[in-house]
Amino acid sequence: MKDDHTTVLARLAPEPVPRRDFLGLSALGAFVGALFLAFLGIIRLPRVVVSASPSRKFRVKLPESLQPGEPFVPPGRNVVLFRDSEGVYAISLVCTHLGCIVKPSPNGFECPCHGSRFAPDGHVIGGPAPKPLPWLAVSLEGNEVWVDGNVTVQPGTKARG
């Protein structure tokens, strides 16, 4: 008798979501949510906030005898400095193709790894490099030059003392 009563009730007003389904769905939702939040937390792990690499901003003294157009590479730096009548400028030596260190040559720069070639002002004249060598920000302080490897400037930007 009672069973009949509940069946009729259920037929008249069926539960919108059966209790079992509701619990199942919430469990699934909680699981996926927890997984997602854990993923969000862990995704930042591989990226260090401060890396221990040497500072890319440095100070260097150009040799007095440096001729216009003659390259000067400070020891241990992947940057070349030039001085001419318009001022001092710095060009990065990191190949824009795959990160090898290019070598200054009489006609500009050559990359040993895949044969990219660059003009003296850094723009690509051959090989697979997709971009010109970037010019780096320089400033003069007395007879010393500050080079900031983090800041690129328009090609042709030269610092005058």
Binding site: C100, I101, P130
Partner: protein, 513 residues
Amino acid sequence: MEPRQAPLKELWSHLREAPRRFKESAFRSGPPVTDRARSEFVFNNLFLHIHPVRVHRWSLRWRTTWGLGVAVTAAFLLTLITGVLLMLYYKPYPDVAYQSIKDIHYVVPTGRFIRNIHRWAANLMVVTVFLHMARVFYTGAYRYPREFNWLVGLGLLVLTLGLSFTGYLLPWDQLAYWAITIGANIAQSPRELTDALGITPYFDPGGWMKTLLLGGPEVGDESLIRFYVLHVAVLPLALVILMGVHFWRIRKDGGLARPEDADALLGPPRDLYPVFTDVPTKTYHLAAIVRGRSPAVNRGPENTIPSMPHLFYAECAVFMLTVFLTVLAAIFWNAPLKEIANPAVPENPAKAPWYFLGVQELVSHSAFMGGAGIPLIVIIGLGLIPFLDRETEGTGRWFGGPGGQRLVLVSAVFGLLSVIAIEAFAIQFGWLRQWFPDIPQLIITFVNPGTLLVVVYAIFSLGIVHRYRSARAGAVALFTCFLCGFVVLTIIGVHFRGPNWGFYWSPADWPKH
């Protein structure tokens, strides 16, 4: 009740029987001399029971597999054992790492020998993985019901190359440092595309991948630890798990692929004892309700022979041959070690390990398409093969399917000629940048010798599909072409490229410093 022996005498006899009882408790079946004991020999043993108890005679012919899968496994086990030994002395920190490899080379007793084995076994593994894949492809063994196992195999190929790549950095010498710098910048090469589109500041998957790999902007101590963890923990673990799945699936998919008429082709067995010839009258009880193509359903185990001794002896032979070749190489050739890594002066030329030199040749045309685009296209193409080729003709036979051996030959000639022609043209006359200095990078990214080669191969293969009305024929053409392309590009990278990646007929012609 039996009269008991004197307690001390009993103890003494138990002690005397202890070795025999120990042996019986460890190996629960007796010597494998009867069919039943041979079966028990396999399924009572944790390490052997991934094998079937009985194996089809077709699977045991040398020509079916040339033992390549077993050779890969053997090479992997060699790297695993020697790798653990090397870990005892290796220290993953820049500069210290180099010194520790030097110690292994010059100070640790047998250290150089162990490192040589590790090195040559890894090389052998790469070679045999490629050969194994070619074998599976040319015998049509990737088809139903083995599609999934082909994909697992593809995953194993990628993991094998990943292990080689991560292992390459660990010595921290010049070779290592610059190969990894190039590799990491290939990971960054999607920037070539995003830069050309001007969206790098907002969407930079390349930079993200490089940072993930290196843990910083350049190859440094974080990178070394990352590569070390990948090399000794993450990748080997993934490889072992996938290997387990790979082996398990071979059995679940019904053993090695063989032609429908394999039994007729083999003829009646001679000199091979014992071969089942009777179809059993008993039903297979539980096995009978299993769906699918497990080897024992609906069929008698006819034309099969016991795995012990036939399969195991064959496997042992391949295993011993692999060990022999590796040790031989390790005695005569030393694993290379250059000067300590110098971030200011790259090697000239800076060459990756030989199996990546084909890719390096491609990246010398475009970093993104050569290093990421084309390899991705190749992997996706390989993965699609079993789903596009749903034919059944020629399964289990070398060069089976329409066209047969002749098609392979024609495709090989076409593949070789086109890669040589395109490379020769690019070497002789240069490419778009030399002719039009102001050409947009996007055009070079998509129109370069590498992509041109892929397009030529694809058109050729589509033509073959049309001509033979068969996806299998097209797949054979494409696979053969890519194999030829890979080999030729690798040879060019290894032998014909010198300083500044220039072309030289021989390393003897390289300019002297």
